[in-house]
């Protein structure tokens, strides 16, 4: 990388015209230095500056956009090999496949299942991202028909898998308007596939049979003027995919241009367990896009969760606002729970209070977004802070009792808390899952 914001700034037009989406040329320069913007986003930059800044300023892994509209998903812009060095930027896109050897009814039924793979976690929704359509029949018409069924039944972007350019052309006539990913170009068909990708202005998977051939092909496609690429080294066994994914990321960070794009990894194991485990490895180890065939929520929930975990910013735990949360419509005699404002903790408690079917108030104390025991050990979840919350947030006006339920893990706080706050302290269960039975046995206002 090397270039500082100031060095970049010197070569910009300095008109602050905002066309790049940044408030000033300086802001744009800083964003570019941080790897968060590319030079091509400034339409006014001079050719001479382009030359000076070009190669050095592009992010090591190019940003590639998939699909259109709300379901658009961005890949790439990655800058590190290890998440602790900074963070991973763009979560792996998950594609679930259907085949054109399935009947139209089977395809639409599976696509309906794929559409439902949406999960709530820590207050956010997480879902799969693409429907992949495979040209397993080898016939162009069947492929186009299958693509049509998928296209008509989902809002998700499509991944079109065929090495037959004629079949791809037909499929694109059906689905090209929503920028499906073309999968893809091989040594045999790359000129025609690249032409299609350019025509529809969409991402193109470039597939080699090994790393060297992949580098070759990637160069050739770049030379034809297409730069929305996804790299496939051809490896399909999990141990080899790991090696190739690692190589591609390492080489990209060393600015080996042919590998400066996000990758795609295919789960080909047909074992119901091992296929999901392989998928997990690809999410953890650098795949930009991962293709698998199961649409079973029991398989997808762990993968979506893993993706959320691996791609969170290690510097910033996800936190909720510290305020009164009402679950159901609690009255003056409803129970009051305290917890911390770490999202995971809060949503565990909120979910369990909800399923206890007793309306209640939850007060997440601001612990800088860390969990109950971590917060306690770090001196951020203390009797003083809980008292401050009880007295400052207005809960005393909402309830007619003075009883507060604390997590069982911090039972040791109860004496001091009772003394400081004047509230009666009830020690709840260690796990929030025990709240329902706790309320049955212990709660009355």
């Amino acid at each position: 990388m090397g270039l500082t914001g100031l060095e970049i700034f010197k070569r910009l037009p300095k008109t602050n015209c905002k066309d790049c989406g940044q408030p000033t040329c300086l802001a744009f320069a800083m964003a570019m230095a941080a790897g968060k913007a590319g030079l091509d986003q400034c339409p006014h930059v001079s050719d001479e500056a382009k030359e000076a800044l070009g190669a050095a300023s592009a992010p090591p892994v190019a940003l590639v956009k998939i699909g259109t509209g709300e379901k658009q998903w961005e890949l790439g812009n990655e800058t590190v090999l290890f998440r602790h060095d900074k963070r991973f930027e763009h979560p792996t896109a998950i594609a679930i496949s259907v085949s054109d050897t399935m009947s139209a009814d089977e395809i639409s039924a599976k696509v309906a299942k794929i559409n439902k793979l949406v999960f709530d976690r820590v207050g956010q929704t997480h879902s799969v991202n693409l429907v992949a359509v495979e040209n397993a029949s080898g016939e162009a018409d069947k492929f186009a028909a299958a693509v049509k069924v998928a296209f008509d039944n989902t809002e998700l972007p499509l991944l079109l898998i065929s090495e037959d350019t004629a079949a791809m052309e037909k499929a694109l006539e059906v689905a090209g308007s929503k920028k499906p990913v073309i999968c893809g170009a091989t040594a045999a068909n790359y000129e025609a596939m690249t032409a299609l990708a350019k025509k529809y202005d969409t991402a193109l998977v470039v597939k080699g049979t090994n790393l060297s051939e992949l580098a070759d092909l990637s160069e050739k496609v770049i030379a034809l003027g297409h730069k929305q690429l996804l790299l496939d080294s051809g490896a399909r066994e999990v141990n080899k995919v790991l090696a190739d994914q690692t190589q591609i990321r390492r080489q990209a960070l060393k600015r080996f241009r042919p590998f400066g794009y996000p990758t795609i990894a295919f789960v080909t194991s047909t074992d119901p367990f091992q296929s999901v485990v392989d998928a997990g490895i690809y999410i953890t180890k650098y795949a930009g896009l991962m293709v698998m065939s199961s649409a079973d929520p029991a398989d997808i929930l762990p993968l979506v969760t893993l993706r959320l975990n691996i791609y969170t910013d290690p510097q910033k735990p996800i936190a909720v606002e510290s305020k009164i949360y009402e679950i159901g419509t609690p009255g003056a005699d409803a129970p009051v729970f305290v917890t911390t404002n770490f999202s995971l903790t809060y949503f565990c408690v909120a979910g369990d209070v909800e399923s206890a079917r007793v309306p209640g108030y939850i007060l997440p104390v601001d612990t800088d977004g860390i969990s109950v025991l971590t917060g306690w050990a770090a001196g951020k979840f203390t009797p003083e802070k809980i008292t401050e919350m009880l007295q400052g947030c207005g809960i005393a006006d909402k309830v007619n009792h003075r009883k507060v339920i604390i997590p069982g893990g911090v039972a040791v706080l109860s004496g001091k808390l009772q003394e400081l706050s004047g509230w009666e302290v009830l020690v709840g269960p260690r796990e929030s899952a025990g709240i329902a039975s706790f309320l049955k046995q212990r709660w009355s206002a």
Partner: protein, 316 residues
């Protein structure tokens, strides 16, 4: 365009540690590369798996976890044999009953149980206390003596109780688990304290306090990656193999415990729960975990199939 394979030139490696006695030993550690990058260095020992046995009948375990151990859950010896039948490389006996909130079992009583289990199975043993630091020091001291010479792995040692446990390991020929709360400096610190008592570094295993998938896995993952890189770049106090106490974390999550009726949008429970344990483990294996303590025999089986594949060469 031939691609020159990018290889890191690591200067050091992870220490190797042997558990158990001949001919039934288990070796862990010894890698001179990041996990499974066989193109770059050696990974002489595959990750090993222990199944967990309690010294009292567990309450609150979901049915799918108790089913494979039906009839043996109140008999640690029979339970341990069952684990060996299921193919466990090691047995991890947890003295949960020693907790003052449980039966407050005496150290002598714990030692008896440990001895009975050790006499019944050939595989190496891991013995864990109940998590109360003071009590664990007493329990593990007694256990260490009862199992003298068996080359077990005892834990978990913390800054509060490491002295007693380290001394017991030295006298009776065992190895120690050094436990730290997801903090690289505290981790090193404890290893230093233990080696300063003259227990050799190749008898220490690091416990970074892992969290399950969805419950803090990312923190442990990164701590473990940093630890592994530390080992490969020559930091001797980070060069110990890492143990991941996965089962105890996974089986308290909602995702493992909820039935399909309770959480219909999450799919079938059996599949989801096993995947939760296997994916948590497979992810930690990528970050450098060497020893895995799991609970469900199907998790062990699936994890092992996965590791078989990962151990195949990917040299270029």
């Amino acid at each position: 365009m031939p691609v020159t394979i990018a290889k890191e030139r690591w200067t050091s490696k992870v220490g190797e540690l042997v558990l158990g006695t001949e001919p039934n030993t288990v070796k862990i550690g010894g890698e001179s590369t990041l996990p499974f990058l066989h193109f770059e260095g050696e990974m002489p020992n595959r990750p090993q798996v222990a199944l967990e046995v309690w010294d009292m009948e567990p309450a609150g375990w979901p049915e799918i976890l108790t089913a494979p151990y039906a009839g043996v859950l109140n008999d640690p010896v029979a339970w341990a044999k069952k684990c060996v039948e299921y193919g466990a490389d090691l047995v991890c006996l947890t003295m949960i009953s020693a907790h003052p909130d449980n039966k407050n079992t005496s150290p002598a009583e714990c030692a008896k149980t440990a001895k009975a289990v050790a006499d019944a199975v050939d595989v190496p043993l891991i013995i864990l206390g109940c998590g109360v630091e003071e009590k664990d020091a007493q329990v593990l001291e007694a256990v260490a003596e009862a199992l003298a010479g068996k080359n077990c792995l005892l834990g978990c040692a913390t800054p509060e109780n490491y002295k007693t446990i380290t001394a017991a390991c030295m006298v009776h020929g065992h190895n120690i688990i050094a436990s730290s709360p997801l903090d690289i400096n505290l981790e090193k610190q404890l290893n230093i304290l233990i080696t300063e008592m003259n227990l050799s570094a190749d008898r220490i295993v690091i416990d970074p306090s892992v969290g399950a998938l969805g419950y803090g896995i990312e923190y442990a993952y990164s701590i473990m990656e940093r630890t592994r890189i530390g080992a490969l770049t020559g930091d001797k106090m980070m060069a110990m193999p890492v143990i991941c106490l996965v089962g105890q974390e996974v089986w308290k999550t909602k995702e493992a415990k909820s039935s399909a009726e309770e959480a219909p949008e999450w799919g079938e429970q059996a599949k989801r729960a096993i995947l939760w344990e296997v994916i948590t483990s497979a992810t930690f294996a990528q970050a450098g975990g060497s020893l895995f303590v799991m609970r469900h025999p199907d998790s062990l089986k699936q994890f092992r199939v996965h590791i078989d594949k990962m151990m195949e060469s990917n040299a270029y």
